[in-house]
Amino acid sequence: LPEDRSQPIHISANSASINEKTGVTVYSGQVEISQGSMKIRGDRVELYRSADGDVNRIVSIGKPAEFEQQPKASDPVTHAYGLRMEYKINSQQVTISEQAKVEQGQDTFTGERIVYNMDKAIVDAYSSESGDQRVKMVIQPKSSRNGLNP
């Protein structure tokens, strides 16, 4: 939701390692992060800070890592999956890589890398450089979305 970004970030995990020198905290084991309606899950989550100590970047690694958020109250929840996710808090952008997949309502996007803009709920999908992982989109026709048969 639009107000998500001003909400506190809550994290739960089996264990964690705080490095006060580098400012990096690594959470391990059934990690779940929530900020308003946004949730990130993973096996291992790295939390990075800016120079002034604010949390500014979160990297989640899992099999797969998961992301979900409701862009607006009237929108369906967006789900994203991938072996690696990077959430940049200031730019409100999630980059999903390695077997990336995004589901927005009934529409599905897959690719080597997907960049999801949370403010605008925009999905940018990219294929792999080698070309073996192409971008695929499945966009349901409006009529079937409303449950009518063509």
Binding site: I9, I11, A13, N14, S15, A16, S17, E20, G53, I89
Partner: protein, 189 residues
């Protein structure tokens, strides 16, 4: 002429007097039964008030400093008990760890220091916000410069809060391992 209370008092004195007189002349306290000369483990051989103890590293740097209003040494337990101990430990980068607790024990060989009761560890790093760790007990291992607890603990820093059950602090590396049930709360930037 004499009230009954006074009579009873006189009778009591009459009974006790011979024992006191014998004990006084003999000059010895009641002999300990032979064969049980073992000293009581709770006995103290020295104590200090308002004690301040400073430890230096082999290189001559200040390693840590202890202050306590009362220190009692128990020879048979090979350790000292500290009331409301406070310690400060500088970090290689110029930061400082300060700790306090309701009570503490220091083993004579300095291998272990146990803190118990409202334990607080304040970390004032060279740069960045201060942090405070609170728990009910903490064991410090000076030779390895680490500390550890299995008890629930809470870390608060700059409005952020993290709770855990069990942790290990690696002072030299300024690293904290949170062992289980980790719950964190961070402010949005």
């Amino acid at each position: 002429m004499f009230s009954s209370t006074r009579i009873r008092l006189l009778i009591a004195l009459a009974i006790i007097a011979p024992v006191l007189i014998f004990w006084g002349f003999s000059g010895d306290t009641l002999q300990q039964p032979s064969g049980s000369s073992k000293e009581n483990a709770a006995s103290i051989d020295f104590f200090m008030h308002d004690a301040r103890t400073v430890y230096w590293s082999p290189e001559g740097d200040l390693a840590r400093e202890w202050q306590t209003p009362e220190l009692k040494h128990y020879p048979l337990r090979s350790r000292s008990e500290l009331l409301e101990p406070e310690t400060s430990m500088p970090t290689p980068e110029g930061g400082l760890y300060k700790m306090r607790a309701n009570e503490g024990w220091i083993v004579d060989d300095q291998s272990q220091i146990q803190l118990a009761g409202d334990v607080e560890v304040h970390h004032n790093p060279q740069s960045g916000p201060n942090g405070v760790l609170t728990t009910s007990s903490l064991t410090i291992y000076p030779p390895r410069n680490i500390a550890r607890t299995d008890a629930p603990a809470k870390l608060v820093r700059d409005g952020e809060q993290t709770e855990t059950v069990g942790l290990e602090v690696y002072f030299d590396q300024q690293r904290i391992e949170l062992l289980s049930n980790v719950q964190g709360r961070y402010n949005a930037p």
